[in-house]
Amino acid sequence: MSRPTLVRDVMRHPAVAPQDMWFREMVRLTRDRSTDCLAIVDTRGRLVGVVTEEDLLLKLMQRWLESRAAEPESPARRAERRKAAGLTARELMTEPVLTADPALPATEAGRLMRDRNVRHLLVADRDGRPAGVVHRADLLALLLRPDEEIRQDVEDLLARRLRARAEAVTIHVENGVVVLEGNRVVDRLLEELLLDVESVEGVLAVRAAGDPAHDRWEWWPGPRGERT
């Protein structure tokens, strides 16, 4: 079975900026590099912070934030107001930076982003220099895996788990949806394997074909008969 996609497989070169870069230059750099985050480095090139499009956008809220400065404000709001007034990367950046290991499976990276409510993860090399960045969009590749590759993995998985009986199963894959067609000999065994099949990279859903008595296989709570 092919190895899972790792962070290093999907990461790109990060846009890097020094701490004294000015606001407008940061806007221009994010635009030129079609990114929504900048890796901020010190004079020795080590990653010290991150500036996101969200941080830059606070500038448009500056007057609104200032107009409410007299009201009691949360630490988060105070930090936003400070950032909104900032002119350089040093003043706008968030530190410390949440980084990911290049050997982390990409699916784990996705979970980390969601748990920490960020849209990207930076990767640093051994010397602490920015080596890569993963955006949410880069993870979409996981969901666009070619059907043939998925079929191959499912086939390998079934061969390993069912051995000779795997021959009794026909595997169909269409647009990431796996349909397994078996017979009574393998039905029960297949059922136990559904979760594993479902976690094969790129699989969007698993369904059973044929015998309506095996509708229970449609444990997957998606709308029925959706497959066309």
């Binding site: 000015w22 606001f23 407008r24 230059e25 806007v27 221009r28 994010t30 635009r31 079609s34 929504d36 499009e53 969200e54 830059l56 956008l57 606070l58 500038k59 448009l60 809220m61 500056q62 007057r63 609104w64 007034a85 002119l87 699916t107 996705g110 979970r111 969601r114 849209r119 949410r136 969009a137 993870l139 979409l140 590749a141 996981l142 969901l143 666009l144 647009n175 990431g176 949806v177 479902e198 976690s199 969007l204 859903a205 444990w219 997957w220 709570p221 998606g222 709308p223 959706e226």
Partner: protein, 216 residues
Amino acid sequence: MKTAVRDVMTTSVVTVTPTTGFRVLAALMRDRGITGLPVVDVEGRLVGVVSEADLLLREERPLPAGRDDRSWSRREERAKATSTVASGLMSRYVVTVRPEDSIAEAARLMHRHAVQRLPVVDAAGGLFGIVSRGDLLKVFLRSDDEIRRDVLADLTAGGVPTDLVRVSVGGGVVILEGDLADEPTLRQIEEIAGAVDGVVGVRSSIPRVPSPGTAE
């Protein structure tokens, strides 16, 4: 002139229908660099938005139905994580802006609702365009000359004699110099300069004199 949403929005919007399939949605987002796709019905009305995050829920294997599902948002996430067409993946509650809204208002909405883009709809609910964070930030790419011209024009319009202050702009930062100004005038000048589109900050070296009536 104040920049409105209509001045920076994208009008050639890639839209999908409620029946558009998962893979097509993912491919559109990846290949066109789109973070959210508006979903429109046959009459062209906006019915929802599918975002990158909605698709990536798929990578988080949903738990079987259970206690967790008492939470409405959790239940909704799980439903999204198991659907294969736009209607099941999209968010139906969509925050929108009007073309005439200011970019500051759009920025506030994006911030409050933690979204990266807002569909622009007209009064009839028709989809007019879409505005992203990047679109809003474009205003900061205005040249220093343009900004300076606007600052001077707005000061004049605000009744501030422009011979009182010298205005220069560098890197989007307005620098105000002058001999003397009283507090209210100074505040008015800074206010006007700070409100000009593309201004990143205002620095003033004009010495303040106590305003009339203040004992000092």
